[in-house]
Symmetry: C2
Subunit: 259 residues, 2 copies
DNA sequence: TAGTGGTCTAGACCACAGT
DNA sequence: CTGTGGTCTAGACCACTAC
């Protein structure tokens, strides 16, 4: 085994403000990214790292724990710690808070309340919210825009609780554009789980009109169901995203850990 | 402070095969899920847990580290450790290995090689792969099906390396349906990063024919670019997923940590 | 000042893998 | 058997927070 394995410049400064475990994790990470350690290779045994850097084993283990956590290495009891293969097979798309996303892009976000209505649950809604037919529900329609261009058309339902009606005024609070916050503000239930289903579709006539796009424009349709801690559905909504304005980008791989 | 805070049945068995840190993490987790600790509440200080359960502080810290890792709690130096709010604002969709996914659903996966061609990079491809115009590239077209129903139509490009031509026979290896494995097998470069972009669209005429669907059928289009360790693009592809057969479902929230 | 979490040490015993 | 990672202890000193 090469004693210069981690490179001559990879020393640990125990007096640094940077934690020792962090320094060690970066050293090993660099060995991997720069090819001195390849997928399947064993990294030096913990006791070897203890000797080499004059640090305690718990500190070494904390460094390795960070690397395990980031997916760079894995351990096998009794055998050693090995460099993982890059895992590229899963892509992950994130859909965040659009109010924030739009602002981040330097645009002016807009939330327009197209209307609220008290409705009675039809078959679909009763099924989605697991409530009896004709249960009184609150129905909201929202239009989200950036620089006055309509982007998302949202239809949201929740069981109606007389105590806290939603006033048009309240929608001025942008945090209520978030369905979860809205449900929490309206009812006494507190959503702790969100289920989302993403479909590819084309606009309906109504959606085309609201969004100001042509018929047959492709759209993403996102169905969101919120559940409380008892796993009861407390809200259901359908959001239509203009396909000509949205795309979801995702990076997977080792580099995301390289920062 | 209530000494029965964690419940009377929440004792730690130090002789159990179950690690102490794991038992403690589950106890605290249960306190959160069952409402004894609510978002924003402080969990007992580390030294209190040390005293209460007669275990060392490092073990307590390991338990807390697990909870931090799962997003259930967060720490504030000098103040304490607090229960986090459920984070529902981001949805995450995963798109995995379809060969596996189809098998998991008890269906018969099929990969059909519609053709390979040596092509010269046009403007789009040159841009995507960051190569000069007219560079020789390998072009593959694949049709992925389940129970003989076409589901995904894939077009993939990579810089042509004479050394390792792709034979039709090789495609029999289902792992090569994975673009990353394919590029690794063909070239000498090793993809370590994958960028994917998800679009909502409608089928083109050609896609409609290959997939056996009507014109204007909504589809998901996934653009994938693979990069090697030097951040050079080594492969680019466009996959068309039938919108009437695919939807992406995602759960976000606390329950995913409750297992 | 007292209490909190953050880091680190120098041991210990264990289970598992390979010889 | 030796060497590996997995768990755990009983201290220590530090920086930050709040009073």
């Amino acid at each position: 085994m090469n004693i210069n394995f981690t490179g001559d410049n990879n020393q640990i400064d125990k007096n640094s403000v940077i934690p020792v475990y962090y320094q060690l994790a970066r050293i090993i990470e660099r060995d991997i990214f720069e090819g001195r350690l390849k997928p399947g290779d064993a990294i030096p045994p913990e006791n070897e790292l203890v000797r080499r850097y004059g640090i305690s084993r718990m500190t070494v283990r904390r460094a390795i724990a960070e690397l395990i956590n980031s997916g760079l290495v894995y351990t096998q009891k009794g055998k050693g710690t090995f460099v993982a293969k890059p895992q590229l097979e899963n892509m992950v798309f994130e859909l965040g808070d659009f109010h924030e996303e739009i602002k981040k892009r330097g645009m002016k976000p807009g939330i327009k309340l197209l209307g609220t209505k008290i409705v009675r649950a039809d078959e679909l809604l009763a099924k989605k919210l697991e409530i009896p037919l004709n249960t009184t529900c609150l129905y909201l329609r929202l239009l989200i825009s950036a620089n006055d261009e309509p982007l998302i058309f949202e239809n949201k339902y929740m069981v109606y609780t007389k105590k806290k009606p939603i006033l048009e005024l309240e929608l001025k609070d942008p945090s209520l554009a978030n369905f979860s916050n809205l449900v929490a503000a309206h009812g006494e239930s507190f959503p702790v789980v969100s289920k989302m289903v993403l479909h590819a579709s084309v606009v309906t006539e109504e959606e085309a009109e609201v969004l100001g796009v042509k018929l047959n424009t492709p759209v993403f349709v996102v169905e969101q169901t919120l559940y409380d801690s008892m796993r009861r559905p407390v809200g259901w909504g359908k959001s239509v995203f203009r396909g000509d304005r949205f795309k979801f980008t995702s990076y997977v791989g080792w580099t995301k850990y390289g920062e």
